[in-house]
Amino acid sequence: MISVRHVWKVFGSNPAQIIGSPDANLSRSELRNKTGNTIAVRDVSFDVAPGEVFVVMGLSGSGKSTLVRCMTRLIEPTQGEIFFQGEDILKVDEKRLRELRKTRFSMVFQHFGLLPHRKVIDNIAYSLEINGVSKEERHHRANEVIELVGLQGYGQAYPEQLSGGMQQRVGLARALAVDPQVLFLDEPFSALDPLIRRDMQAEVIRLHHQLGKTMVFITHDLAEAVKLGDRIAIMRDGAIVQIGTPEELVAAPADDYVANFVQDFPKSQVLTLRWIARKPELNEVLTGPILPPTVTVHNSMRQIVESSVPIRVMENGHLLGVVTAQDMLSVVSGSEF
């Protein structure tokens, strides 16, 4: 659906000259001291499959928000290619770009970006309005989306009369109003308190199941990334350090940075038996219960503990390995992985 190829974004006076020069290999602070330029996005490439939830995760300042803005050209990338359904959106003209923004892409913002002088319904209908849709039709559509995100009865309210969570529902509804193919969500729940955040995450999962939209989701919260993401890209200093499923990141971090990141994460919730199954030892009994490798440690805990003999992990009739309560405990307590 989307292919990002070697995208760079350099802020400063002569950004294009940095790329390809030896300066590009300097660290951020060194480069800033030397040339006054800052590399926000450094040679980033990845693909997003249709219907996938692709999460970009990183600490603040890692370039993730710049990256997502580059993808819709709210910030012009310095170099690179971004293909959307085969079309390089960095090459299209202003008019086509607006068309894409109006009909194919939608964005949800951390600070909502609602228009305070418009009612909820007119906020949601804004993009339809600039698409030239008649008032009756766009209000009809807006009411549909209002229902979809659970905002019934709030259409005539003004944004400032709603709580933060409700405001972001308006943000979501506004993004969904034009029935886009891709949703870009830039830390949409970071400004919300934890309980509301959990509700909203569930809401996004529900909407994703219901509508099957492709999503590019930016966050600094690993738990959120794991919960929502089909795949996660971890960014550091503008570059992508690792891309993988949540399981892969937790089980096989590419470097210390990622390892550090995932260290405190409750691994049993992500890791499946495939990752902890080990070769049976010579004298081990191979008659224990059978489990598939795709079950998470968390979900198989009870069976593993209750079995007096090692659990067999089998896939298509093959024995991949065994797991004992001992093995599992070392994962849960964090001494392994």
Partner: protein, 664 residues
Amino acid sequence: MSVAMLSKPEKELKASVVKRYKVGIYLGALSAGFIFFAVLMRGIATLPLDTSSLTWFQSWLNNVSDWIGNNQNSNPFFTFFINVIRDSINAFVTGIQDLISQSIGNNASPLIGWLGIVVLLSFVAYTVANIRVAILVFVGLVSLGLLGFWQESMDTLALTLAAVVLALLIGIPLGICAGLFPRFEKVITPFLDFAQVMPTFVYLTPVTLFFLIGPASATIVTMVYAIPPALRITAVALHEVPWSSVEAAVSMGSTRMQALRKVQLPQAKRTMVVGINQTIMAALSMVTIAALIDAPGLGKVVVTALESLDIGKSFQAGLGIVILAVLLDRTTTAAASKVDAENSHLVSRVRHRQILVAGGIVTIAALLISRIYNWAGNFPGTGVIGSDIARYADDIVNWIQNHFVNVTNSITNGVSYGLINPIQNLLTNSPWFITGFAFVLLAMILGGRKLALISTVCVLGIVGTGLWSDTMTTLASVLVAAIATVAIGIIFGVWIGRSKRADQIMRPMLDAGQVLPAFVYLVPFLGLFGATRFTAIMAAIVYAAPASIKLMADGIAGVPASITEAGIAAGSNKWQMIVKVQLPSARRALALSTNQGIIYVLAMVVVGGLVGAGGLGYLVVAGFTQLNLTGKGLAAGLAIVLLGILLDRITQAAAARSTLERTK
């Protein structure tokens, strides 16, 4: 390397401490040196010039002005450009005057008679503001008529409206550009600063040279003064719109125009209405001063009365200006808060609409009546109440003068002999190169080489105008008034800044004080102290004090709580808190309030030329009235501008310095 890194900030700290310490020594040495040399060489090279004699530069300006006068109707630059502008503006203003103030043709009244105007404006006030303001407008307008100044008030209103409409037509689009394009804003800012720093008085003559005396010139000078606030506040209003909502609109595919129209402008509306308020008040203030170049209206009554020292009449007309100012200010301020109310959706629509329809019908009826019946067309009566007020004012002033002549005289003499004369003697008797050099050194100490260069240019420029001695006379008054203003600013500013209650009581008064046109301040002091420079200085202090006090109060109130708490925790008493904690923390505010104080004072001191304050202001006024002094008046205007730049830049450098020191 790490050693070097560690010691670097320490070195900087030491350097700044030493530097600050040194600046104090330098300034002390400079003052001592200046006084020493000024006294030692007094009387040498003081460049005096009689009022009637001219330098070659001033004669040359006379010739320029003659040339312009002679070629006004033949040179294509005038016939195709200047005169076209003049004629269109004249037509615009005359149109509005025909509508509300001047009788047209054989009709005894303008197109809309007084009753029509009163009802119409009250209705407008109701629609943009609320019923209370509408009643205020009604009462205010009627009392203008009762004062006996109906037509003059409407002339002032017509000129103000014309200038405001034109100023907004130019100011708002440019302000939008400045709000959208930072680069444009950067280019235009120095021009705006300049237009606002310049005493309004000085561009009267140059404008009349090109646009002749009349409504066009009055409108143009008013626009020059009224466009900057309109432009600036529009730009600020756009900056205030949260970027996130603009970004959201763009992400949904809005064009730049759509984002501006549907997202930015609606959110900027409230602040823009505040800008309109500022524009209107600036325009009113300037329209009254434009009376000096024959703009009709209340200002003219004040000028004529001031020139003939008719206190009662000038008080009467001054009261009219105050009423007009209050009406315009209240209406637009209430309109701004109504935009707020609309945004928070408290207005009940249906009832509102019914009242609007009813009001509209009444207004149309009043308009018709005022066309048909003479009593509703021309304001009835002969302004008896106004004359009574004038007489009472005269009586009161006479009474005060009779009973307190010793008091007022001793104040005047005390300040004159104790403060003004010594300073004036010092400055006017000092050789120009000593005083000029002192200025350049001061600039060097406070702002470095660039500022010293600017100061050199200003000093030499003033010498070049041939009016060094008069400039020193004006400077003396400015310094005295500025010292008093800053002292008042500190005392009241500390009081207001430290006490919420004082703030609540004083702030509305200060706001009101800033709204009144500069002119009005001359009237009461003229009554008390007669036509002297002391009157001008007193008026300047009263005019400048509100701005100074407000800046100071904001600075004191803005000292972070953590600092004041630490001071209290350390056991400071009230006096120690003020002197050792709050004033030093508010140093930048002090410098800024000094800067604003001086700019305001300069503007008013030159206006004081009207009431015998001598110096440059007097020459500007003489330039209006005496043909052979036109060039000298122009030169005086130029000298005022140069003096203004000099004082502004140096005090701003002082302000910048205190910011710098605080951030270090």
